[in-house]
């Protein structure tokens, strides 16, 4: 190993090429050029470009989130509108039911009223007939009473004229 390093040292001067200061100037020259070139590439092209891409992406993400929120709000609005329509429809249905019920009730009332008047008319007619019959019956009673009175008077042996009997019966019946 020792002889090896010795031979290597003989071949290339000092043991460590890093410490061969004769090459430093060369390396530093090229290094400075390299660093300046890399700096120019990065600061003029690469870094602004990447920064703009990142900013653009951030903007896109923000916009997308805003759009999503908009759509969500719209969906909620639509849901609210749907709910409102449902409630309206229910109210409308209730109203129609109530209206129909009221209409039927009115018809019913009307029909009942008609029926009532008809019944009342029929009843009045019936009462009239009964009154006629009653009056007729009273007249018959008068006739029967006259006849009966005449017969009774005749049977008692009297002779009564029709006129006086009628007057007597009428007076009696009035009383």
């Amino acid at each position: 190993m020792a002889t090896d390093t010795q031979s290597a040292a003989e071949a290339s001067g000092p043991g460590m090429p890093q410490l061969d200061f004769s090459t430093w100037g060369n390396q530093i020259f090229w290094l400075v050029i390299t660093l300046v070139v890399i700096y120019l590439i990065l600061s003029r092209v690469a870094l602004p470009r990447i920064a703009s891409v990142l900013a653009e992406r951030q903007g896109t993400i923000t916009n997308d989130i805003a759009a999503a929120e908009d759509l969500k709000a719209k969906a909620q609005e639509a849901e609210a509108a749907y709910d409102k329509a449902l409630i309206d429809a229910r109210a409308e249905a209730g109203r129609i039911v109530a209206e129909t019920k009221a209409g039927i009730q009115a018809d019913l009332d009307k029909a009942i009223a008609t029926a009532d008047t008809k019944i009342a008319a029929k009843a009045a007619e019936g009462e009239k007939v009964i009154a006629e019959i009653r009056a007729g019956a009273l007249d018959n009673v008068k006739v029967v009473a006259k006849d009966t009175a005449k017969e009774i008077v005749a049977a008692m042996g009297g002779k009564a004229d029709a006129k006086s009997i009628t007057a007597a019966v009428t007076a009696r019946m009035k009383g």
Partner: protein, 251 residues
């Protein structure tokens, strides 16, 4: 690597774990400061990797990212959040600089894991420049932003008065050790891992131990993948911590 193959052929064990770190001119000839070397080549490839990772993947600018774009965005978010959390809101201004450091180190580390490649971040020349750049920037920034109040960083006002001068000396020393530890930590970790893999590879020439050696290479390689990222992360987060000290020097 060629010499290693020769060593295996001759039957003897030859270890050249450090040869992989040699700086070589791409087209031969002596190495002057402007010579295109393997270090220059792999730094250039790191630039291409950064372009591929951060520019080409994001070219569509899609809101729903592709795989590549997610990686780029992840890297961006990772470093951005680190800067924001550690350095505070006013540290975000320096985010491109820190991102440059992170992207270079992470790309260089991972490119270095390609077999036969050259790892630029294993060289102190590279990491010292990176660390000194951070150190000098942060120190200048501290004085520019806070004036003499920046020296309050070394004056631990929460400690007993008698202890404060001693603590101040310790704080000053630790402050100046920062660039050393900052640079050696990165280069040392990367270099050590690569050297150990090379040593295992040398043992693989012996038939009897080669299965163990190869298993060792695999295990070390897995560890190195982890180290590549973690060292880039550590370098970056320490940069953020130093930046925080410069922006808010009070303890």
């Amino acid at each position: 690597m060629a010499s290693e193959a020769q060593g295996a052929e001759t039957g003897g064990l030859e270890f050249h774990p450090m040869d992989q770190f040699n700086i070589e001119s791409l087209f031969g000839g002596p190495i002057a400061w402007y010579t295109p070397t393997n270090a220059a080549l792999w730094m250039g490839l790191a630039i291409l990797a950064v372009i591929g990772l951060m520019v080409l993947t994001t070219s569509k600018r899609s809101v729903v990212p592709s795989r590549g774009q997610s990686v780029a965005e992840l890297a961006y978010g990772f470093v951005y959040k680190m800067v924001e959390d550690v350095s505070g809101k006013d540290g975000v201004v320096y985010f491109p600089y820190i991102m440059t450091l992170f992207m270079f180190i992470v790309c260089a580390n991972f490119l270095g894991l390609i077999p036969m490649s050259f790892t630029t971040t294993s060289h102190f020349a590279v990491t010292v420049v990176l660390a000194m750049a951070v150190f000098l920037t942060v120190t200048v920034l501290g004085f520019v932003k806070n004036g003499t109040k920046f020296l309050g960083l070394f004056w631990v006002s929460s400690a007993p008065l008698a202890l404060r001068p001693i603590l101040a000396i310790i704080e000053v020393i630790s402050y100046f050790v920062r660039p050393v530890s900052h640079s050696i930590r990165l280069a040392g970790n990367v270099m050590a891992g690569h050297a150990v893999i090379k040593v295992f590879a040398g043992f693989a020439a012996i038939a009897v131990v080669s299965p163990i050696a190869i298993a060792g290479i695999v295990a070390m390689y897995a560890l190195e993948i982890l180290v590549s990222f973690i060292q880039a992360y550590v370098f970056t987060i320490l940069t953020c911590v130093y930046l925080k000290d410069a922006l808010h020097p009070s303890h």
